[in-house]
Symmetry: C2
Subunit: 448 residues, 2 copies
Amino acid sequence: MKRILLLGAGRSASSLIQYLLHHAATEDWHLRIGDISVAHLQPLTDALTYADLLVFDVHNERQRAEEVAQADLVISMLPAAFHAEVARECLQKSKHLITASYVSPAIRELHEEARQKGLTFIMESGLDPGIDHMSAMAVIERIKAAGGQITSFKSYTGGLVAPESDTNPWRYKFTWNPRNVVLAGQGTAKYIKNGTYTYIPYHQLFRRTDALEVAGYGAFEGYVNRDSLSYRELYGLRDIPTMLRGTLRRPGYCTAWDTFVQLGLTDDSYTLEGSQHMTHRSFIAAFLPPATTTNQSIPERLSAYLHLPVDGEVIKKLAWLGLFDETPVALPDATPAQVLEQILKAKWTLAPGDKDMIVMQHLFEYELSGEKHTVTSALVATGDDEVHTAMAKTVGLPVGILARLLLQGKIKQQGVVVPVYPDLYAPVLEELKQYGIDFVEKDSRVGE
Amino acid sequence: MKRILLLGAGRSASSLIQYLLHHAATEDWHLRIGDISVAHLQPLTDALTYADLLVFDVHNERQRAEEVAQADLVISMLPAAFHAEVARECLQKSKHLITASYVSPAIRELHEEARQKGLTFIMESGLDPGIDHMSAMAVIERIKAAGGQITSFKSYTGGLVAPESDTNPWRYKFTWNPRNVVLAGQGTAKYIKNGTYTYIPYHQLFRRTDALEVAGYGAFEGYVNRDSLSYRELYGLRDIPTMLRGTLRRPGYCTAWDTFVQLGLTDDSYTLEGSQHMTHRSFIAAFLPPATTTNQSIPERLSAYLHLPVDGEVIKKLAWLGLFDETPVALPDATPAQVLEQILKAKWTLAPGDKDMIVMQHLFEYELSGEKHTVTSALVATGDDEVHTAMAKTVGLPVGILARLLLQGKIKQQGVVVPVYPDLYAPVLEELKQYGIDFVEKDSRVGE
């Protein structure tokens, strides 16, 4: 019997738990699920002999040491900040590890020691990072094997709502951590295009979007992610002239979101004095220049300040959020970003029955035998409902599949590993098809 | 004999050194001046028995301990980051300390211990912070003593060039640390106006300026400083409805500087790949969207991007800086802010004979016996030349005067002290007049 310790049983773990339980009997696994709160899983595991629950506190060193010592494989779906501690514990107790989070510098440091101990720490094995790497590498390896030279790679991913749940003027609802959505894009976005490095500061980011089309799903817009450059090394495309990674939204979202950025509402670096006494309206007013005429309304002041039509789409979107209402904020010592997050949560939370949608689109250009080609590789995955979301499936299933491969001894890579190798990504992409997570590819020769 | 250890002998210390040497014989002082490089002071001190020089390295713990141990008073004009270490040394060796820098949290922590040891650590005793506190408190105390109620206090300071040296289209040259000028304003500016807290994010800061007039010196514009709110407590104006502090520039500067902010050129948080191979022109291009037509020039692309007239004042100012030229950058691993600083230094350095100018203007509103009043209190100080600048005089002289008062036993305050008390500021303001550093005040009743 193999013992799996799964740490973190939040929203994004639902499909992973389902996958692990489904295979537990045939694979002879025992699954132990630990989180601060696990009561919601009781009905699921009570009837099963091969699964149990524990109340787990990552800050409890003794518990952490004891639990990791008893496992054969640890899967951590905890917030990324805790992974270094879990990884060091795995190293000490000689246990394998899988997470869906980025390789942090602290994790990277453990590579050599993990390798020497014959351990495999698979990181970046969810959706983004995860499926993005796997699906991109499948295309890249195929083009390279055929002798092609890749000249451009743009890749966009978005966690959105399915068409049937696309019911608000923003065409957006929260399908993962709202805080991350509010803070997304802060810093400077860096990419390379036609051999020229390009830098977009945060306050221009949502103004410099690209228009995209995904066959069968209509129009989207993409804003550039903070880091596109490091992917050249990771994907073996060191000298590629164009490399860009972005985030997808429905058209109109970015222009409206830009008002939050321009006003300063996404700032998380200081607290607002007297935030508990604010209303939505006075919150906005604190970021506006003084009124230029008496009786000038907040939407009028905002429109004049940011050069927006007062009866246009942006102001409509903001009004729909209740941003101009006298709704109390009632959060003490809140940062602007925290107030904004609360306002958005009241409107952007998935309703019962709502379905989310993951869209990922890779756009390649390559040259082969003197001819130019483009490849479009697109994934659209839809959630079953507001619990078994597309986000939970696309994040959790690749983790589960890699766990099975690892416990079956089919993964030979050791140390800190990211799934950019065919022996990792090929079987995962293949098995994901069974769950409807399947890329549609189109390779076209560019007409001369 | 009293021994003064002066640490830091850079540009801003020239007038302070002059003041201390001038008084050394009559006050029976010995002055020891330490800096990384002190050779430039040799001609000055060689002939004097009461002054000597040492090559001083603040990171050399033994030297620091030995030198502080031999002094009666330490004056630190080192960069602010080193003051905490110097202050802890002073505490250990029971020595007084004066600096022209802000009270940092690390310095604030030393207050109680310094007080118990009977030591005086006078901080914020230069120009800004320093003369701003002293001159403001003189007005505030007078209004309060007369029974007035202060309802508004706006205070602006600028280090600029004197009219006779005002010879470039920016109407600005560097009169202090260029790096600080490039990074000025980053973060969010916070102030209160008519009882309403107002927040201006950095990317709006140079667009939301106030127009000001200083009698005899013409028009200025002011942008808001990052922190205006903490001055309420410091000045005993806890419930004042309007409190704003700002920085002065000549009209047109802020609009042109805003292009740097909008492009992202003042960012100091990351390095540019291949910066050593850039030219001014390619540096700018890296922050622009792609050209929309062939042969579109950089000024045309910039104008289109930021909605500026291509033949307007802003583009002229940028062109005058050589920003569109193929001048090599030649700085390896530079941040955008470092490249910008180098470009500006080539054009904004004071030439021989150039005179700088400090402008400080306080604007008060108060109510007395049911009548509304305004007070304008303004200082204009002009440098003698490019060495004995107004900056060096206004920063160094109050430090020197406070040093004399302290060594004469005239300052009774103990612990970490800021010059907001009459026994500190009154004699300093009085003596500064001898050096032409004098505020012109006007108190007017507002016509009903």
